[in-house]
């Protein structure tokens, strides 16, 4: 039997960053358990986009703090995470979304975010190769950006280990029992006893929650993505359209990586790639960026979104369940919001510090019915 002060289940961006921030707050006898290798879940499969252009006040504020973390992260952790402040360009194709975009911009500016409203013909000053056909307007935030998810996970994990924490990879949590004031976690390596248990299991979080008798209101869905061969660097911003239903960006090595949602996707844990996605997304990419028609697609894959009912994550504790914390349901944006959320949760766990964010993203919002849906999602 191993004894720890806290155990985190899940080695994605959320788990490893939480491990780091707990250690930085002085809690070092902490273990992270990952079933596969670090970043093998949604994190290592994601688009790596980091944006502040959200529709709710709380998400804008959180994302602005989150972006600040990424901008300084390579220095803080001593490992290059390929942060690139290339901005986010958001083309809008329908009147309904144009109205929403104008509202968003007003709120974002009020909160101190620098955003521009562009006419279709003004887009070429940002991305000359973009095809503005059918676009009503676009918004552009130059301080948004992207980073390399795998390298970010690695950087957090190394920094957390250097502070004395432990990570078990290739080790699946099989069951959890409550023994007095402790949780006993059964794994193939050993059984671990801990008074504090954190569920950071991404698309598998419902399964972990069930092990201690909790039904989460979250649902896993497959989300597909692909990458082209590398082409000479020409694209700075990540381009995403909520009503056009696509996003893409250029990676550090030159490949164009991008994806789209699928409204008909059935719920469940599924990592297969579909021909349907390859064809549909190729049409979107070819329309938005005609110069990419000759470029070759070299790889496609899939990962999980863990959707929550309001498309916002759930973090903190649950009334009546001592020592259990969760940080789950990031829907399609856990890479960008994971580190800042983990930092806030670490402050709550080690010092009992309640910020407005702990209250806003608490599980209680579903019990109290105070939910406000985030609409700026793909």
């Amino acid at each position: 039997m191993t004894t720890k002060d806290a155990v985190i289940i899940g080695g994605g961006i959320v788990g490893v960053s939480l491990l780091y921030y707990l250690a930085r707050n002085g809690m070092r006898n902490v273990l992270l358990i990952e079933r596969n290798y670090l970043g093998s879940g949604a994190t290592g499969r994601c688009g790596g986009g980091i944006r502040q252009q959200w529709s709710t006040e709380i998400n804008i504020k959180l994302a602005m703090l989150g972006r600040e973390i990424f901008a300084n992260l390579s220095d803080e952790l001593g490992h290059d995470i390929e942060w690139h402040s290339g901005g986010y360009l958001i083309p809008v194709y329908t009147e309904e979304f144009a109205q929403q975009a104008r509202k968003n911009i007003e709120l974002q500016r009020k909160l101190g975010l620098e955003v521009e409203l562009l006419k279709p013909e003004e887009i070429k000053s940002i991305v000359p190769q973009f095809n503005p056909a059918d676009v009503i307007l676009a918004t552009y935030c130059p301080t948004d950006g992207h980073a390399n998810p795998f390298k970010t996970v690695f950087a957090y994990a190394k920094a957390a280990q250097a502070l004395g924490t432990e990570i078990w990879e290739y080790c699946e949590v099989q069951s959890i029992n409550r023994k007095g004031t402790c949780y006993e976690i059964l794994t193939p390596h050993d059984t671990v006893a801990t008074p504090i248990l954190v569920n950071a299991a991404g698309g598998w979080a419902n399964i972990i929650a069930k092990m201690i008798g909790i039904e989460l209101p979250t649902t896993p869905y497959r989300h597909e993505i692909l990458v082209t061969e590398p082409v000479e660097h020409f694209l700075d911003p990540l381009i995403i359209s909520f009503d056009g239903d696509y996003y893409f960006r250029q990676e550090h090595n030159g490949g164009i990586v991008g994806g789209m949602g699928n409204p008909d996707e059935p719920p469940g844990i599924n990592h297969r790639s579909s021909l349907h996605f390859l064809i549909e997304f190729s049409h979107k990419l070819a329309k938005a960026m005609p110069i990419l028609r000759d470029v070759r697609i070299i790889r496609q894959w899939a990962g999980l979104y863990l959707m929550s009912p309001d498309s916002q994550h759930i973090m903190g504790d649950i009334n009546g369940i001592d020592g259990y914390y969760q940080i789950v349901g990031f829907s399609g944006h856990g890479f960008m919001l994971g580190p800042i959320s983990s930092k806030l949760l670490a402050d709550y766990i080690t010092d009992g510090k309640r910020s407005e964010f702990i209250d806003a993203f608490s599980y209680r919002r579903f019990e109290e019915g105070t939910i406000q849906k985030e609409v700026s999602v793909v």
Partner: protein
């Protein structure tokens, strides 16, 4: 442009990675083909690892003392051969199943 030593042994031609660079990743703690692929991009190039994965498996085997047959190949991901986007546009849209 290229700052690699002249006599360096290139392992992944598509992503331009030498044996020494692969060994450095192993020493940093990336121990499986999947991890090395994601960290270094070896195997993510045009040929999708057909040339380099076997060589990297041999390096891991030698460096960590793991028998070659115990080294798991990374997940194969479609498309197997790079396809130009304009060729995909000619495929039929309706009949594709959403598996």
């Amino acid at each position: 442009m290229n700052d690699k030593p002249k006599d360096a042994k290139i392992i992944c031609r598509c992503e331009d990675l030498t044996e020494d660079e692969i060994i450095k990743y192993i020493e940093q703690g990336y121990h499986t083909l999947e991890e090395i692929k994601r960290a270094s991009r070896a195997g993510m190039g045009h040929c999708q690892g057909r040339t380099c994965q076997r060589l990297i498996a041999q390096i891991i085997s030698k460096k960590l003392g793991i028998p070659l047959e115990n080294i798991k190949p990374p997940t194969a991901r479609p498309p197997v051969k790079p396809i130009p986007i304009k060729a995909i546009l000619n495929l039929k849209r309706k009949d594709t199943t959403q598996d």
